[in-house]
């Protein structure tokens, strides 16, 4: 029954058959409508191709170039002479979130967020989550910048562990390099720093920027002749490393004592640093290589814009000039004083610049050896002259005083005595003998007024800061003989001084000895360059003699480090305005006395003290530095040690080193040494001296014998007490 009904039903449907005529017509109409739609779309397709084809073809090709990835290069390292890294570049990682990938699986978001929270406690997880949920199609969102490998390694491990964490997705890391200065403040003025996108700023970083910089690589696609896309990778070329002549240990010793000086003297009579500026350069006398160069205040190379480093400095104006009565920046006032961004930048620039090469000042009495050398070399002086100082000398309309003015002058002095006592009157009298034209000729030979061309960014020009034949009158000549009236930079002074004591060879000062490629191969070796001969070897020996006298008997006694004899010259220069309150103290010396190997120049610019004109500020600082630097450089001690000195060395953990020969002879010498000291000829060992520096030492010894009569003890005895304080009286 059921089946029958079904058949009937089927028949019934079959009877009313399919579509009737109307319906068929309507279907045809529908089909025609669809055809029309297709025709319209085809026309649209054709018109796109015809009207915009060429434009779109170009558009497609031009879009291709964006599809390239920059592969960052590694900026070269800066190494010290022993291979220690002073500046290096470390690979760091930017964290990128790809929201699209992260949302692809429902579980991914939560699991990835949990992993991120776990591995990066400092990340703001909720803001990442917000970004991902609000921009579900974004594929490149930088969440964190410059993470180290250690920071990301835990997450990378979790991400790679597909069994425990199968759903971590949508986070990847982009490579970048970050400049790192492992010693933070060490050699900050010398090294300079880098600013992203602008390369090196200041110091070696800027001077050698093109050497340190490499070339970015590129991973890019291009179209071949069939207009199909191919991809090519050009690897990045890393920058070259530079090996400097700086010895990080020497540098550290210098900076330690500059810091200590500041700690001992800051806020002494006024708020602020122990001195406006402190500078120190140690140089290899026989090559012009800089072993250490530092100034104070320093800054952290890893955070150069840290304004807390400015505290204690005097505020400069927008042009970088510091007024005589400038405000001292303190913790309390710094925010207010430097609210102006431009002013803040000017003050930071003042901090960043290298005092040793950028600041100019009047050298004072440290210039006296230059004057004497000029006189001797030119033949205007014989070295046999004697001068009488009554405390002052009338020059033109002025009466220029000597520092011993109140004591009635220095009395009668030989040339040696004049240098030892830093007698201005004697020097002015020498100046009269020398004459302005010869004086200026030699000043130019010593390179004053010219750049030394040291390989550091920011060396000052001094061409307008020295006298010329036209501008130098009688008074100018007189003051110039003792280093007042014209301006110099520290690097000019020490480079010129090296030539005075090394036999007359003027070496171009330099910081970099070698350029190496990333693979370690040497690209270029920079050898010492002698630019000129300033004076003869004979005159040079004479100057060495005088400078040793200064330390032995004269104003520089307090500069002598325990166990060594050194030579040098002190300087106390009055600054403008000439109100006899502000002074630049300096000591310029060499060691050891018998065979100069290193030269040192210490400048204390306006110490924080009631009485500034005390050169002891500079000599004592120099002594502290040399006490550690000389033993470190394996220079043998030659002098007897007092109990106090032995105790001092023991406290510094310095072992006493002497030449083997001397050690063997210790017992014999024990009785001889007092005689040696009295003679003043420390190194009169004749042929006994050995060691690598034998040849020069022998030369020196023979010179000592020749010049012995000049270092007559009688004259030295007359000036008995070393003058620790000297004053240059300037009439204007």
């Amino acid at each position: 029954m059921k089946n029958e009904r079904r058949v009937r039903q089927a028949r019934k449907i079959r009877v009313d058959s399919g579509l009737n005529k109307d319906m068929q017509a309507k279907l045809v109409i529908l089909f025609i409508l669809v055809l029309l739609a297709f025709a319209g779309l085809s026309v649209k397709l054709i018109s796109i191709t015809r009207d915009n084809g060429e434009q779109y073809k170009k558009q497609v090709l031009s879009q291709q170039k964006y599809n390239s990835v920059t592969l960052p290069y590694k900026r070269g390292d800066i190494l010290d002479c022993k291979g220690n890294k002073l500046a290096t570049s470390e690979k760091v990682y930017n964290m990128i979130v790809d929201a699209k990938v992260m949302l692809d699986k429902d579980e991914s978001l939560e699991e990835t967020m949990a992993a991120l929270r776990d591995c990066f406690p400092s990340l703001d997880i909720s803001s990442i989550r917000n970004h991902v949920t609000e921009n579900p199609t974004s594929q490149y969102y930088i969440v964190a910048k410059r993470l180290t490998y250690d920071e990301i390694s835990k997450f990378v491990e979790m991400d790679n562990d597909n069994e425990t964490y199968p759903n971590i997705a949508g986070v990847w890391f982009e490579d970048e390099y970050k400049r790192i200065y492992p010693n933070n403040t060490l050699a900050s003025d010398v090294l300079g720093f880098t600013v992203k996108g602008e390369g090196g700023q200041y110091g070696l970083e800027q001077y050698y920027n093109s050497v340190l910089e490499g070339t970015n690589g590129r991973d890019y696609g291009y179209l071949n002749e069939d207009e199909t896309l191919e991809r090519t990778t050009i690897p990045a070329t890393d920058g070259y490393n530079i090996v400097t002549t700086i010895d990080a240990n020497v540098q550290q010793i210098i900076e330690k004592y500059l810091y200590e000086f500041n700690e001992n003297n800051k806020n002494a009579v006024r708020d602020g640093n122990g001195a406006n500026n402190l500078g120190c350069i140690i140089m290899d006398v026989n090559s012009g290589e800089i072993l250490g160069m530092a100034s104070y205040p320093t800054f952290n190379l890893n955070d150069p814009r840290d304004t807390s480093r400015l505290i204690g400095m005097k505020e400069c104006d927008l042009k970088g000039n510091i007024a005589y009565d400038a405000t001292v920046l303190t913790e309390e006032n710094i925010a207010e004083e430097l609210a102006d961004e431009e002013l803040k930048n000017a003050n930071l620039a003042n901090l960043w610049k290298n005092f040793c090469i950028s600041n100019t000042y009047e050298p004072g009495s440290t210039y006296k050896p230059f004057t004497v050398a000029c006189g001797l070399e030119s033949g205007k002086l014989t070295g046999e002259e004697y001068y009488t100082c009554n405390g002052s000398l009338p020059v033109a309309n002025h009466n220029i005083k000597c520092h011993n003015y109140k004591k009635g002058g220095c009395g009668t002095l030989s040339v040696l005595g004049a240098v030892e006592n830093s007698c201005n009157v004697s020097l002015m009298l020498m100046g009269r003998q020398i004459g302005a034209s010869t004086f200026l000729e030699y000043q130019n030979k010593y390179n004053f007024g010219l750049k030394t061309n040291i390989d550091l960014y920011g060396e000052s020009r001094t061409d307008t800061l020295v006298f010329t034949g036209d501008s130098m009158g009688e008074t100018e000549l007189a003051t110039s003989t003792f280093g007042q009236g014209f301006n110099v930079t520290m690097i000019q002074m020490i480079t010129g001084f090296c030539s005075l004591i090394n036999g007359g060879y003027y070496y171009e000062p330099h910081m970099v000895s070698k350029i190496t490629a990333a693979d370690g191969s040497t690209v270029k070796t920079i050898s010492p360059r002698v630019l000129k001969q300033t004076i003869s070897a004979q005159t040079s020996n004479q100057i060495v003699e005088y400078c040793v006298g200064v330390v032995k008997e004269g104003t520089g006694k307090t500069a002598r480090p325990a166990g060594y004899m050194i030579g040098g010259k002190t300087g106390t220069a009055e600054t403008v305005p000439r109100d006899r309150t502000n002074y630049v103290l300096s000591f310029m010396g060499f060691a050891p006395a018998d065979n100069p190997q290193i030269a040192i120049y210490v400048v204390v610019d306006r110490p924080n003290s009631w009485v500034q004109d005390n050169v002891g500020f500079a000599t004592r600082l120099c002594r502290s530095i040399l006490t550690e630097v000389l033993p470190y450089m394996n220079i043998y001690m030659t002098e007897e040690l007092s109990e106090k000195e032995e105790q001092e060395l023991a406290e510094l953990n310095i072992t006493v080193k002497r030449a083997n020969v001397e050690e063997e002879l210790t017992e014999e010498e024990a009785t001889d040494s007092p005689d040696l000291d009295e003679n003043g000829n420390v190194n009169a060992h004749g042929g006994d001296v050995t060691s690598s520096t034998q040849v020069t030492q022998e030369e020196m010894n023979s010179d000592d014998v020749e010049t012995a009569p000049l270092t007559g003890t009688v004259l030295n005895m007359e000036t008995g007490d070393a003058v620790k304080e000297e004053t240059n009286e300037i009439p204007y």
Binding site: L35, G53, D226
Partner: protein, 383 residues
Amino acid sequence: MRFRTDENQTEKPYIDYSMIFVVLFLVCFGLIMVYSTSSYEASMSTLTDNDPAYYLKKQLFATVVGLVFMVIAAIIPYHFYERISFTSYLVSLVLIGLVMTPLGYSANGARRWLRIGISVQPAEIAKLTIILLSAGMICKLKENVNSWKGTGIAILPAAIAALMVWQITDNMSSAIIIGGISVMMIFIASKDYKRFIIMAVAVVAFAALMVFVIQKAAGSGKFGFRGARILAWLDPEAYASGKGFQTLQALYAIGSGGIFGKGLGQSIQKQGFLPEAQNDMIFSIICEELGLFGGICIILLFIILLWRMMIVANNAKDLYGAMLVVGVMSHIAIQVVLNIAVVTNTIPNTGISLPFISYGGSSVMFLLIEIGLVINVARSIKF
């Protein structure tokens, strides 16, 4: 006891080979294009295990399953579907509702899929069940379909399904297709023209009004992402980095292909510029690789397919069979026209896939089942 009619016993069933050939050609061509468009991105992404054939494999699996179902659908006498049509319609509504439960999951930022063993898009099932149900209802309503009331009753199931698809899965394009299928079937079945012209004019007028309002309110963001899409449609270059990006890149692909294209597999746009080129925008890559020529050939193939379906519908032995074919024909016609219209920026961007060619397992599977229905109806044509 015999179920089959006398005619079928004596005559060989009619098989529309030309239609089957066109379908198989489109399916195979689709697989090639899915591979061509997806292999670059698939090989670059860890989500697809860097397997260039990742999408091809999934599509091939769905196609094979679909072909099996197509044969089954072609063999079972089609009046069986009339009996299960209401049940299957209810099931499809339930499935749409299930998207809201944890069974549902989202991809590409939209929650439209169900994971029940395999992942399916309930909207695709709804399109099939609407065809089955509407055909039956039209047969039952007979002459009543000519009245406004009858039309309302006939359109009701489609309206409910469309509303659910739109509101629950936020998939307006599928809702439009479901509604469109139903309206076209009723149009064929009724005698009236006027009513449909009024409806068409009303729809066009409403759309124009909306576009006008949105254009006036540009920048206020009041109309959400759909408003933004309409603004991007009016001036894709102005929204080149946002909503207009995909459209503009598709136009670049079409325009840069020229007349004969860059050659199969040589598309540049698929390499990252046109994201997910294997989906809705696949037609633009066809134009880029095979040129205007290739694109128009595909249009011609669809025309042939629709023409064969029209022949089958006009010769179907009964109204139910004819209406099934009209439903399938409407479905394919709407989707192809809208897809190409989107790709050429003739209408605002909305997610409509190109039948048989775009990547999408549910879509190709249910389309093949629909083809099975047409073959089924064709088999019983009496000459």
